[in-house]
């Protein structure tokens, strides 16, 4: 198998403020993020040769991107891959450049969730019906399914719900702390362990502060050939690995799946580390933006991405290993916890943080001398997931 390592680079990025953007449409957000990226890369809109639009439900085709940006007669493709849609748009953009088909391309991630009128995500029942088209399936919500991960994780590692919830609360407190330092975050408020622990139950054992918010947002990356990158800026960020692992549904069918990890994360991580030539992720990765749709998801990701040994992520959480000043800061921008999760936008929003951190432009959140950053998206539910792991570096 080949490798994308050091073949392409990101030379410009943009990201809107995430939140309940009542006064902005999806195309408003695309325009904001894209023009920030053009300016950051020092290019003109017409320098873009092709574009990929990552969105889950906001648009069903690529056309709206061309319309919003008045991109004249270029190739625009819509990419959908659940919560990894934004990351997969970037992945496709990178491959096109690496193939030599284009020199400068655009990857966009956008989602407008708050026009719906309800809390939570749109219906995603189409994903896991036992038989397609019948609607014969369990009541499917994201919190309900990730809560089952918590139930089993607690059981497997001998944690009472109280002990387990305390560890999860620490993750929420950390991410909220980071979010306060980020003007683009939806939520910018410190919380205490007590607030998190006493919050109302959304899906037992997960409470309100174990769940990420629902918001709108857009983020954009401009990609070019690695050998051209320094023509645009002195500090481009080079792509080291682009991996996606998609589940064949085993976890929902096979009693061997333990519901205390997410196999797709582990597999995508292993593949990404191989592609990037990383042998010790815990020691080599400087920062990681991971898919904390729920606090339990982040806890399990620590183990699946091999940051912590199996069953021992809680010790790292307790030691503050993943905090801003810890050994491997995770979700330095506040994560999904503070940004919410506009599906198609999240992957590129994560990349925006890693990009800024690697360039030393993360302001109050700046981590000391990072060289290698990772983003991770988890689409679907435990047992049936699509996971992306992207690694970039200087």
């Amino acid at each position: 198998m080949g490798s994308i390592k050091d073949k392409v680079a990101i030379i410009g990025m943009g990201c809107t403020k995430f939140g309940e953007n009542w006064d902005k449409s999806a195309s408003d957000m695309i325009v904001e993020a894209a023009y920030e990226a053009y300016e950051d890369a020092g290019i003109e809109p017409n320098d873009i040769e092709a574009a990929w639009l990552g969105t889950w439900k906001t648009y069903e085709c690529g056309e709206p991107l061309a319309v919003a940006l008045k991109m004249p007669y270029k190739a625009v493709t819509r990419v959908e891959n659940l919560c990894a849609s934004g990351s997969d748009a970037l992945r496709n953009a990178c491959y096109a450049v690496a193939a030599g088909a284009y020199d400068v391309v655009l990857a966009v991630g956008v989602e407008k969730l708050k026009d719906s009128g309800w809390s939570g995500l749109p219906d995603f029942a189409y994903m896991v019906p036992h038989y397609p088209g019948t609607g014969r399936m369990e009541s499917l919500t994201a919190p309900g399914h990730f809560a089952m991960l918590a139930t089993r994780y607690f059981d497997k590692y001998g944690l009472s719900p109280e002990e387990g919830k305390k560890i999860l609360a620490k993750i929420a407190v950390k991410n909220h702390h980071n979010g306060v330092l980020n003007p683009k975050a939806h939520f910018q408020r410190e919380i205490t362990l007590d607030t998190a622990l006493k919050s109302p139950i959304v899906a037992w054992p997960l409470g309100l502060y174990d769940c990420c918010g629902v918001s709108d947002g857009a983020a954009v990356a401009i990609v070019t050939r690695a050998d051209m990158a320094k023509n645009f800026r002195h500090d481009p960020v080079y792509v080291k690995a682009l991996q996606i692992a998609t589940s064949p549904q085993e976890g929902l069918l096979d009693p061997e799946y333990d519901y205390a990890h997410v196999e797709e994360t582990y597999r995508a991580g292993v593949a990404a580390y191989k592609e990037a030539g990383i042998s010790n992720p815990r020691g080599e990765i400087s920062i990681a933006e991971v898919h904390d749709c729920f606090s339990i998801t982040e806890l399990v990701i620590y183990e699946d991405l091999q940051f912590s040994p199996r069953g021992q992520a809680k010790e790292d959480v307790e030691a503050g290993f993943f905090e801003l000043d810890g050994g491997l800061p995770v979700n330095t921008d506040g994560g999904l916890k503070c940004f919410g999760h506009p599906i198609g936008a999240s992957g590129l929003r994560m990349m925006y943080e890693v990009y800024k951190q690697l360039q030393g432009k993360a302001g109050a959140r700046q981590v000391k001398n990072p060289t290698l950053g990772l983003t991770h998206n988890l689409g679907g539910v435990p047992g049936l997931a699509t996971v992306s792991v992207l690694i970039v570096g200087l």
Binding site: H130, R136, R152
Partner: protein
């Protein structure tokens, strides 16, 4: 000789104390409680549950006909017995028929089954009777009606209760009725119903039946007959010369309520649970006439004891916390809907393709590696063999709860929704909702079983599938 060869019953898990209803509306507090079908149950699902109880240890390949009797089928046009037969995995050649229109529908079906077996057109006939009728709020019918189902298997071999005789009369009267467009049952003045209907027809029919077979009241160990309430039962029993305490089957009024079409056969099942070989049972129903049967219990009764039946289901229950909950389950009052995306109408075409997998809970077992899998697959999840499977039913397999959550976000008529991952004994896993449970009792590792339910109804399509529940009893 033709007779009953097996029996089963189903009484819903939930009960509503009549005191809760009286508290809401004021007025006379009637004693006891009524059985209340869960929001995901209807006459079809309850019939399946009773039939599964009845078919304990029965070879379903020997069943030639299935009759479904109810005044509250999910459909006015479409056969419920076809759905029940599919859920029970009966043979495709099974003769299915729905009996309806009267609370006598269940005993009408018994007569049809007898005739069919006697004539040789069927060896064994399964009869399911189920009802969940609605009385208007604040009325006596709401207080007295309960929900439930019963199943009887009729045949001519290994008979547990021989049908020695039958007698019937038909009667035209508008006493208790419901129009095609009605949701709630109507009734005429109580005194008329009693004097010219029930308390006149039942004695007439029973007297004639006894005369026909030269039997007297004293020759019956048990007398089982329909009544709207214990008072009517007592009046008629006295008139006919039966000893209420010693002979007359209790009406289950204080524990289940009037289960309509299911009531008379349910009382018969309760009587059979206590019966001994040699007992003679008189059995009668009511509704636009009266069907009477004379039964004699055989020694085979001892081989049909391992049923949940009436007794088992009565003991395994949970009280509904409030009358409001019942109102919400029956959608009697509109409530603020959950702010969640609307459910999509299932495709009738997809439901048709999935009739075995969805209704009978059939999965597959790989012939190469032996792995059971639900839903049916084309490519084995373990060894990736293509199209090399045999049918594999999960419906009556017990399982272990592997993980769960109580989800408050999922739109539900009865939140929280308990979502469950179940690992089946013998292999295979399903992710499904859990029903008939108190959230506090749910623990990883507990034993669960599958139950046929209506998961929702959208766009005029009731969508039937399976849920798990803690092993009922």
């Amino acid at each position: 000789m033709v007779g009953i060869t097996s029996y089963g019953a189903y009484i819903p898990f939930y009960r509503l104390s009549r005191a809760r209803i009286s508290e809401a509306w004021g007025g006379r507090a009637l004693p006891g409680e009524k059985a209340v079908a869960n929001y995901d149950e209807d006459s079809i699902t309850m019939a399946v549950a009773a039939a599964m109880d009845c078919l304990t240890g029965v070879d379903i390949q020997t069943i030639d006909s299935l009759y479904f009797a109810s005044t509250t089928s999910a459909y006015k046009e479409k056969q419920a017995s076809a759905t029940v037969a599919t859920a029970l995995d009966l043979r495709r050649e099974t003769f299915t028929a729905d009996f309806s229109g009267s609370l006598r529908a269940g005993t009408n079906a018994i007569r049809a089954a007898m005739d069919s077996i006697s004539s040789g057109s069927a060896r064994n006939v399964l009869i399911c009777a189920a009802d969940m009728r609605l009385g208007l709020p604040m009325g006596e019918k709401e207080l007295s009606f309960g929900d439930g189902a019963v199943a009887l298997l009729l045949g001519s071999e290994r008979v547990i209760a021989t049908i020695e005789g039958s007698y019937t009369i038909s009667d035209e009267i508008i006493d208790i009725w419901r129009l095609d467009k009605d949701t709630f049952v109507r009734s005429w003045e109580d005194r008329f119903i009693r004097e010219k209907g029930y308390a006149s027809i039942i004695p007439e029919a029973i007297t004639n039946a006894l005369e026909k077979y030269s039997l007297t009241a004293k020759e019956f160990s048990k007398v089982v007959f329909y009544a709207r309430d214990p008072r009517d039962l007592a009046t008629v029993a006295r008139e006919l010369g039966f000893d209420i305490k010693a002979q007359v089957q209790d009406l289950l009024y204080d524990t289940v309520g009037n289960t309509g079409t299911a009531l008379a056969p349910m009382l018969l099942v309760a009587a059979l649970e206590e019966a001994k070989a040699g007992d003679r049972i008189l059995f009668a129903s009511y509704g636009d006439g009266c069907d009477v049967y004379v039964l004699k219990v055989t020694p085979e009764i001892e081989n049909a004891r391992d049923r949940r039946g009436v007794k088992g289901h009565l003991a395994a229950k949970e009280m509904l916390a409030s009358y409001q909950k019942y109102m919400r389950w029956r959608e009697i009052i509109p409530v603020e809907p959950a702010a969640r995306p609307p459910l999509e109408q299932p495709s009738a075409v997809a439901l048709w393709r999935d009739r075995k997998g969805g209704l009978a809970l059939h999965g597959v077992k790989c012939k190469q590696c032996g792995t059971p899998q639900y839903p049916p697959q084309r490519v084995c999840m373990k060894c990736q063999a293509k199209d090399d499977f045999e049918d594999y039913s999960f419906a009556d397999r017990k399982g272990v709860l592997f993980t769960f959550s109580h989800d408050n976000l999922a739109a539900s008529i009865d939140p929280p929704t308990t979502v469950a991952v179940v690992d089946f004994e013998g292999g295979g896993r399903i992710v499904c909702d859990m029903t008939d449970r108190g959230p506090q009792q749910i623990k990883v590792g507990m034993s669960v079983e599958m139950t046929f339910r209506k998961i929702y109804e959208v766009g005029g399509i009731p969508n039937y599938w399976w849920k798990c529940r803690p092993v009922r009893c």
